[in-house]
Amino acid sequence: MSSRFRRGIAIAALALVATTAFGAPPALRVCSDPNNLPFSNAKGEGFENKLAELVAKELGTKVAYYWFAQRRGFVRNTLTAGKCDVIMGVPSSFELALVTQPYYRSTYVFVTRRDRRLAITSLDDLRLRTLKIGVQMIGDDYASSPPAHALANRGITRNVAGYMVYGDYRKESPGRRIVDAVADGEVDVSAVWGPTAGYFIRKSRVPLVARAVTPQIDLPFLPFVFDISMAVRRGDNALRDRIDAILERRRPEIDAILRHYSVPRLDGEEPVS
């Protein structure tokens, strides 16, 4: 490499630093999963990508991503490690970070083929004792998705198929399989977290329908409805407050983005059937 060329790069780099240092505010650093639609992917196609762009725009800057698969240790290795300043989705009761106000409330839904006309809504529906049911699996000790726990509590285990939430990470949209399994007839019904269900139902060749799981809280305490917030590092109250203000101010755009991705809502917008 010639020294003149190298100097050219050095000057260009210096110019870039200067712009960042004295011009525009620093980028909004977001930690995100590079392959987890409908939430996010490296091409920026998920609704959390769109929300990150919206928040960055409001802050007068751009998004800088730190990509990291959302697995055990995600928060520790990303937000807490200082690799970014915000993550776009956590339950509002999340304790490992400082959460914003909730920006949507969704629910687990039963996904079935429209042509089957099953219309299952209740965990106590007797047909769940014989139909083949797909549930999302987590894998940590004692942990599982609420429908998996609720079915096991009712002694329903032999007709339940598990789909890891991580899916096959080599494939695009690894979380999709539990919805496709309904379309393909691999299972009769799947119990799926709302945003995942809404998005992949829309992409399905076979018409599918989603109905909210009831009861919303299965006694003694098994919630099927969750408020979702963004999160910043503990102590970063200033950024949290600025994002909270944006969530207030840009509510219509945020609702439009969630509607565009068919996120089933229980908080007024796009209520599920």
Binding site: R71, G139, D140, S144, G162, Y166
Partner: protein, 615 residues
């Protein structure tokens, strides 16, 4: 019927009458009530195929030998001069995650593999201070770090006929020319995208390298794979779940207990198809008996299903296998923990010994198990000869030696949404992977282990891969006595502890025994220690830079002197508070371990460093 059946009642009665703490008094009280079929006499001895007389001063396998003794015949360093043991040299790995590997010494070279990114260093012991001969960097996929469940550890290397063999976290087994570091073959065995990783040390038997997978929490189906040591080609793979043909169960399979007999139990003991992602990973130790040509190893916990979702025994998770080393065909199996609900993986070491029982020599294997019992098992047929507790246990009530079945304790059974307090041992068990050592001079097995219990409290909402989920709120804490670690000298012939040392933190290092009648181990707050193998008296200690969670080793250097090596670098499951910089205010972090280890941050800092000691 043995005494165990009456224990809870006896405890209750004594509590009501004299209000003492007999029921929670640790090990000494429980040891007396162990079950045993036939009395052993004399002391445990090494099988004929391991001849300590031939000690050549090398350390060629992480577990030292086929029998997994971790015993060296070197005796230059002994009780008369141990007070003169001093640091001779050090070597930094520059990494801050948990270091669980034992270095090997082959001729004049030491080989050391690091945690992720699994760098292999060859150190020239002829040079003053030990100069780097060559370095091999496999550059594993960084995404593998997100898949590993409990720190990005690696448990060591293997050596065979001029080759050094390592496993990488992203599922490669790689053979290198031991002299040059040149890659000879590189075989990919699994896929991080399906949740698989590899953390165990390869184990070489004759011309085969044995490697198993990790990731039981991630929806993985466990396996042990044999590769041709010369080409890296896969020769056989034995799955831990599924139909007999996948588990390599055929006509030669003769399990001792009826509970382990039957066709396709790896399918039938699960809800339909649950076995396909049923866990039973293989990430611990393998031993080998050349006389019978059998290998022995155990499998991990059933997963990723919650226990209530998988009624049945869930075979062959938490099970011990004996297989033909050439074909992989199972000869017998014994499920140590049918339908495990506590995460008691059965991956611990099997130490191959001979015992004199009722006047006859029995070829046995000795397993200090995660469930808290030392299992003495006839290695020719899988019969459990005894199973006595070496730590405090209340989650089960011993082993029924007629059926081979672990006795469950109804009041300690967990269900998400319920509260169960004081489950002992906690999920990592009374002992995790950290390997024990055996000295033929004392006839004792030296077990480094933990003393942890746990509370299981209702539900906790969490979030992963975009999905909110519900898990139990688990918190671990010190067991009876208030200390979290122990070193126990166990007499397999008598079926009881001879002495015990208490340590503040879990003893996660494993042990080394030598012909100098010394037992070496390390502590999580960074003390390298030596004990008198007969009395347990502490005879030497040295403070290293970071907590020790790697098993120590010893060798004779090119200068003819004996050296002892400790790799420090805290981490692993109990050390995640430090290596992962967890917030100790969140007691449920690291699956509830953070609650028990909050003060480790004040006791040590992270960073990998090898310390070599000599007189």
């Amino acid at each position: 019927m043995d005494e165990y059946a009456f224990r809870p009642i006896a405890c209750l009665v004594s509590f009501l009458l004299i209000f003492n703490l007999a029921c929670s008094t640790p090990p000494e009280a429980t040891q007396a009530s162990g079950a045993s079929s036939g009395k052993a006499s004399g002391k445990a001895t090494l099988p004929a195929f391991t001849t300590v007389a031939n000690e050549d001063g090398q350390w060629l396998s992480v577990q030292k030998d086929y029998a997994n003794t971790r015993f060296s015949g070197l005796s230059e360093i002994n009780l008369t001069n141990i007070d003169q043991l001093k640091a001779a040299t050090t070597f930094s790995t520059g990494l801050v995650s948990g270091h669980e590997a034992t270095p090997l010494v082959v001729g004049d070279t030491m080989y050391l593999v690091t945690p992720f990114p699994n760098v292999l260093y060859a150190l020239d012991l002829k040079q003053p201070g030990g100069a780097t001969k060559w370095v091999y960097r496999p550059d594993p996929d960084p995404a593998a770090q997100g898949v590993a469940c409990c720190d990005v550890v690696n448990r060591g290397e293997a050596y065979h006929d001029g080759k050094i063999i390592i496993n990488t976290l992203d599922n490669h087994t790689i053979a290198l020319d031991a002299a040059t570091g040149q890659e000879l073959w590189n075989t990919k065995l699994g896929d991080i995208n399906r949740g698989e990783t590899i953390t165990m040390a390869p184990f070489v038997v004759k011309d085969k390298v044995l490697v198993g997978n990790s990731g039981g929490e991630m929806g993985v189906r466990g396996w042990l794979t044999a590769l041709d040591v010369n080409t890296g080609k896969i020769v056989w793979r034995a799955y831990s779940t599924g139909p007999d043909k996948d588990v390599l169960i055929g006509p030669e399979f003769k399990p001792f207990y009826p509970m382990d007999q039957g066709k396709d139990l790896g399918v039938k003991t699960w809800p339909p198809e649950a076995w396909k992602i049923g866990g039973g990973t293989v990430w611990g130790w393998v031993s080998y008996d050349p006389e019978t040509n059998l290998i022995f190893y155990g499998t991990g916990n059933p997963g990723p299903w919650n226990a209530d979702q998988r009624p049945g025994d869930n075979k062959w998770s938490c099970a011990l296998f004996a297989r033909d080393a050439d074909t992989g065909q199972a000869r017998w199996a014994y499920q140590i923990g049918p339908h495990d609900i506590y995460d008691y993986d059965a991956i611990n070491e099997s130490i191959l010994l001979d015992l004199n029982i009722g006047g006859t020599k029995r070829k046995v294997l000795v397993r200090p198990e995660r469930d808290g019992y030392v299992y003495i098992i006839d290695r020719t047929n899988g019969e459990v000869l005894s199973a006595n507790p070496f730590g405090y246990v209340n989650s089960t009530a011993g082993v029924d030696l007629k059926t081979g079945r672990l006795r469950e304790v109804e009041s300690k059974k967990t269900h998400v949404g319920t509260v169960v307090r004081d489950i002992c041992p906690a999920a990592p068990g009374a002992k995790d992977w950290q390997p024990s050592a055996f000295s033929p001079r004392t006839g004792l097995v030296y077990i480094t282990h933990q003393n942890l219990c746990m509370d299981f409290e209702g539900v906790e909402a969490n979030y992963i891969a975009g999905t909110p989920y519900v898990g139990a709120n688990v918190k671990m804490f010190a067991g009876p006595g208030g200390h979290r670690g122990e070193v126990t000298a166990w007499d397999p012939a008598a079926g009881r502890a001879v002495w015990k040392i208490k340590e503040k933190f879990p003893v996660w290092s494993g042990a080394l025994a030598t012909a100098g009648d010394l037992v070496f181990y390390g502590t999580m707050d960074g003390w390298a220690k030596a004990l008198d193998a007969r009395s347990g008296a502490e005879v030497w200690k040295f403070k290293v830079g970071s907590g020790i969670i790697a098993p120590p080793m010893t060798y004779r250097g090119p200068d003819g002197k004996q050296y002892v090596a400790f790799l420090s670098g805290v981490g692993g499951w109990p050390g995640a508070v430090v290596s992962g910089d967890l917030d100790p205010r969140d007691g449920t972090a690291a699956l509830g371990m953070a609650n028990a280890m909050a003060d480790l941050k004040k006791a040590t800092t992270r960073g990998g460093m090898l310390y070599v000691f000599s007189l």
